[in-house]
């Protein structure tokens, strides 16, 4: 298995508050890695450290290394890192003043793409990858805010995919969605690993079990266990993992 991301001794703070502590783990190429754990365990903080979004919060601080294909992302510029590692957030955040088309094209335009054909092609491809094309192909000029919640989230996925990132981070992408919209996103995650490497934070253990190959369990800012998803759910090595997945706390 090829290694995509290697996280080494990663700790992160909000001001004085330690949010994640000394985390070391690997993310494999073309796989879905799920991060689970109770609220406040630091799982969102962890993935926000993987594309240097954590440090955009005032007084936030990171120590440790994150290697993308062997290069430390904390030695590169955050802007170039985020162009290689995209992100989808808990709450869909399309640009409401932009059309669906412009939302998807936004990242490409940032990269200086002006050629209309090239943009058209990328928008089409990304919307198809995000399984949204059939629903919006006749209304590309409408505002991104006019879509339903689940469609907005898929629009955000399309927007992130359009710049062809190597890794896509998803921070509880379904937590604000109904079961049908959730199922669509889960199908999508399954399809996307053909072309991308995904890290999905979720508070929903069933979701982790459904979509991921590898699962990491975090508790109180620490990585308790990371393993093949089936192994982790069927034969957890740690007592803490077992009591979480059997619903004794969380």
């Amino acid at each position: 298995m090829a290694l995509k991301l290697h996280v080494e001794s990663l700790s992160a703070w909000y001001g004085e508050k330690l949010a994640i502590q000394d985390i070391t783990m690997d993310v494999e190429d073309h796989m879905v890695t799920a991060v689970i754990g109770p609220s406040g365990c630091g799982k969102s903080t962890l993935i926000r450290c993987l594309n240097r979004m954590h440090e955009t919060i005032p007084k936030a601080r990171v120590e440790g290394k994150v290697l993308l294909q062997g290069e430390d992302i904390y030695a590169a510029s955050p802007v170039s890192v985020r162009r290689r590692i995209g992100m989808v957030f808990q709450k869909a955040n399309p640009f409401p003043t932009m059309s669906i088309y412009d939302n998807v094209a936004a990242g490409l335009r940032l990269n200086g793409v002006r050629n209309r054909d090239e943009l058209d092609k990328a928008v089409l491809e990304s919307l198809k990858q995000a399984a949204l094309w059939d629903e919006v192909k006749d209304s590309l000029d409408k505002s991104g805010a006019s879509l339903s919640g689940g469609q907005q989230q898929r629009l955000c996925i399309a927007r992130a995919l359009a710049v062809k990132p190597e890794v896509l981070l998803m921070d509880e992408p379904c937590s604000a969605l109904d079961p049908i919209a959730t199922a669509k996103i889960e199908d999508l995650i399954f399809d996307l690993k053909k072309d991308f490497t995904l890290v999905v934070v979720t508070h929903n253990m069933q979701q982790a079990a459904r979509v991921s190959e590898t699962t990491a369990f975090m508790y109180l800012g620490k990585l308790i266990e990371v393993n093949n998803t089936r192994e982790l759910f069927e034969r957890p090595r740690e007592a803490l993992t077992e009591s979480y997945i059997t619903g004794r706390f969380g």
């Binding site: 802007v79 890192v81 957030f89 955040n93 640009f95 409401p96 003043t97």
Partner: protein
Amino acid sequence: MHFFRWTRGVGRGVSADTLGESLFRWFSTLVALGVVGVLVLIATLLFFEAEASIRVFGWSFLGGTVWNPQPPLLFGALPFVYGTLVTSALALLFGVPISLGIAIFLSELAPSWIRIPLTYVVELLAAVPSVVYGLWGIFVLAPVMRTSIEPFIQGIFGFLPIFQGTPIGLDKLSAGVILAIMIIPTISSVSREAFLAVPDSQREAALSLGATRWETTRLAVLRYARAGLFGAIILGLGRAVGETMAVTMTIGNKNVISVSLFDQGQTIASWIANNFTEAETPLELSAFIELGLVLMLMSLIINIFARLMVARVLRQGEGAA
């Protein structure tokens, strides 16, 4: 038990004080309605006082270029409307980019230790009395304009009609600069509010696409807040249109419509302030009042427009949140 006695005590206290209570209520209502009444009264009185002039000159008052207090009495507003529009436009031209820079710095870039003091300082600009700006305009700005800035501009762009003539320092350009400084606090603080109302999720969306700080501001903040920004600019325009003292002191006070910004001019407000007391005939007085009515309507329209824009932004903000 104790609890019940206590509430009953309060209840009795209130009912014993019914007279004070209703007096207070009536007084509040009265002063609140009074404000509306005063506004209506001012508009009505202006209209009645201006009626003579309106009847004599009709629409030609707005297009007339002469103010002739000797017979044949002829009064026109165009040079003052022109001066008002030109100085206000200059104020926006200089003031808007600076205000936006300040607002972007305060909401997007400044570290928190400098943000709060700087916000206060910018808002303090609004507390400087306008006559002080006028004095500063006469004694500091005008000489600099006359000896350095205007000759410099003329050296480069002298072929343009707007930069011709002898630089005097007390002219439309100087008045525009003073107005720009005076509207900076309004525009920068209202647009800062609009920027702060942009949810962080919008900034994160742009950042996660690999946007730089400026690109994030442009993509996520400016676009999202554009209606509020527009409202801020219109509010600033409203202030520039009605500003009297500082303009009167720096514009040079000459009733002409000239293209050159280095020429003196006159605004509605400066003309009224300078000459109102010298009105010789009832018709001239009425014409002055009609001028005031024109100014009031201009400000009113601009303000209503601005508030509608700002309200639209707030609704948009809630809808997107």
